[in-house]
Symmetry: C2
Subunit: 188 residues, 2 copies
Amino acid sequence: MGRWEPNARGRLLQAALELYGERGFEQTTVAEIAERAGLTERTFFRHFADKREVLFAGAAALEELLVSTVAKAPDGLAPIDAAAAGIEAAGAAIQAGGELPRMRATIIAASAELQERELIKLASLASALADELRRRGVTEPAASLTAEAAIAVFRIAFERWINEPDQQDLPRLIRESLDELKAVTAGH
Amino acid sequence: MGRWEPNARGRLLQAALELYGERGFEQTTVAEIAERAGLTERTFFRHFADKREVLFAGAAALEELLVSTVAKAPDGLAPIDAAAAGIEAAGAAIQAGGELPRMRATIIAASAELQERELIKLASLASALADELRRRGVTEPAASLTAEAAIAVFRIAFERWINEPDQQDLPRLIRESLDELKAVTAGH
């Protein structure tokens, strides 16, 4: 992470996503990623444990953003609306990634192994959100149900955002999907 | 599956769950399962692909029960209530398994690999439920949201049923969890 390697992490991420898209995830080596980024393998391993983790390295930051947004929500806010603030913030952060989240989603959709990893990541996100709701005083099973419902809303909105490139605003899709969930659970 | 091996499948399942509980999933071999059941390894492999699939062999039947129950729900029923009928039927079937579902859940909770497989199974269940809701004419994203919410309700009720042995009635826990989801999404 020396100053002679400006934005090494970002360059490795971009190079990896390009190569996974061009050649497939399985067919790409760490050596090729480092070469495309103009960096060494050693630098790669300073930033990522392996080539799979390039795709999931952002998960911890996303979880932290989601949880800290819920923590900062006003006390009186209903649990579902506190959770909604968290997933909208996560959506805005993803959207700020430009084309990278779409490239990433395409790569993950092509691999059963990567899809499994993504499911685990989403389960972990739901679990962290439920923890934070309990810290806010929400009891069980309401905390877990709210968290699972919010992550389902997040995932379905994200899929719409990926599959409908004309739908540019992910936070808006998240709000719409939440309204839709409220409608379906109200029996509409 | 000859008549000289009555209920071979059930005996293998019971033997496997006992051994996984006693020794751990990793430490148990197919030879030991077959021996405990009083059957041969060859018979084991006529019923199960490997020792992991013993734990997930019921998933296909559960999915079929859930989907067929939704398919038979009255036309005018709200999507969430059609989905609820499906997960209640699945809950009743699990409950009919007596102690086996609890033994199974304990074993799965002890292994990250098995938990991943369980997440995949639940995602597949949600996907099959969304398919059936679309066949009933429910549009997207309502179909996916309803299915994901219903599977979240099912999973959380199942966890309560496992963790609170005095809570004997799983279908009732499912109904209660659904009511709780309706309350939290209504902003309570």
